[in-house]
Subunit: 245 residues, 2 copies
């Protein structure tokens, strides 16, 4: 409560709300609120600063793209010691693909922060990935590289980066889990339901139980994604028992 | 002397020598010497680690390239607040161009560290840039992002990155200085001489004096580069008096 009181006292109501929403999203207290505002400002707003320089997220997108690339590079370098330079390059391209970043931005529902003079229906899919990159740029300027790394780890690597799947060794975790349960004569259940809460974008949750015991949960913007997320967690829980051959 | 004694005591003579050379190059004490050894090992050596994974600089090159890109991106973002995303992208491409990195690697004479089974005459020009990138990767793994940033600032940005020149506003600092001195009726002299010291690659030094007072020095692998470097320093010393129009 102290944090909120302090914020409300020293900022406009609008800024205070943004602060609080950002803190929930980032899992840390932002400092330079203007960097985040810029990260969520579309060029169509046609804002200028005192020097006449446009205020929008495009420069931050350039910066964030670059920071994201280096964080993913360093993650892959350490994670796959046997991967060649070509392998690492290819894996990184898959992870930071436009498609992948758009999905990420959508799942984080970043669009709700965006100021734009274009109708949301007409902004196109790429805005989701672009503002995700811009957000990374803003975090870098606000808190430095290590915070960025932590944020990317939490929001990109843990929920989305999946070496086995990117390599094509696993095409569906759900399929893998079901197949394994059937082979091992284990009872399994997927309990999937709509779970949007207060969010403007539809979300789904799933609980997976094996032999009556709940093993993992998942939540995402589609049933399939939520089920894959939870199934992947089951896979990691039983990794030593589940063989990929 | 304590540093050297400690190093010689706890390492092979060869490692101790590398340590000392690296400290001179990096301006800090390296810790994980094996990362640097890897950064200087060409694939032709065909070394393998205990797990059978090749030891050479190619993976580190991937990592370093990425870190370098993000450090330059962040430098440009802050340095040119009015630059658009397209401008920043273009400037970064110029700075991290293969040609530019090869020049850098050559000037730092990194090739003297390299272990290779190919004759130095046959390795091609790109090896200079590649091992520069691998070195950045090694520094990142050894000391983290902030050390990398500092190293890149000292070794890349300060001596090589020159926004005016990259933008084409200035094509020759030497020309600019001479023109300015003539206009201002100042006496100038360029004292240029070979100055290779103990290094295996030829180096040149230059001292520039204006009205009898030495203003700046420069040292590089060609007369032209040394003169441009020193002239640029003169330019910065008199920036407020020298107009670019």
């Amino acid at each position: 409560m102290n944090f909120i009181r302090k914020i409300v006292k020293s900022h406009s109501v609008e800024d205070a709300e943004l602060y609080i929403e950002l803190k929930k999203l980032l899992n840390f207290s932002p400092r330079k609120i203007n960097k985040y505002k810029k990260a969520f400002t579309h060029r169509s707003v046609q804002m200028l600063d005192k020097k006449g320089i446009p205020i929008n997220y495009e420069r931050l997108e350039f910066l964030g793209d670059s920071i994201l690339g280096s964080v993913i590079a360093s993650y892959l370098y350490k994670k796959v010691p046997e991967g060649t330079e070509g392998y690492l390059t290819q894996m990184r391209s898959k992870i930071v693909s436009r498609e992948h970043l758009n999905e990420l931005g959508k799942d984080l529902n970043l669009i709700k922060f965006v100021k734009s003079n274009i109708d949301q229906a007409n902004v196109g899919d790429n805005i989701h990935g672009n503002i995700f990159e811009a957000l990374v740029g803003a975090i870098y300027l606000d808190k430095g590289y290590n915070f960025c790394q932590k944020f990317i780890h939490e929001k990109v690597i843990v929920p989305y980066v999946d070496i086995e799947k990117l390599e094509g060794k696993i095409t569906s975790y759900k399929g893998l889990i079901i197949e394994w349960c059937q082979k091992q004569k284990k009872k399994y259940s997927f309990d999937t339901y709509e779970d949007s809460g207060n969010e403007s974008i539809k979300h789904f949750s799933v609980k997976i139980s094996i032999d009556g015991e709940q093993i993992a949960k998942g939540r995402a913007t589609s049933k399939k994604k939520a089920e894959e997320m939870a199934s992947k967690r089951v896979y990691y829980a039983f990794q030593n028992e589940i063989s990929l051959n």
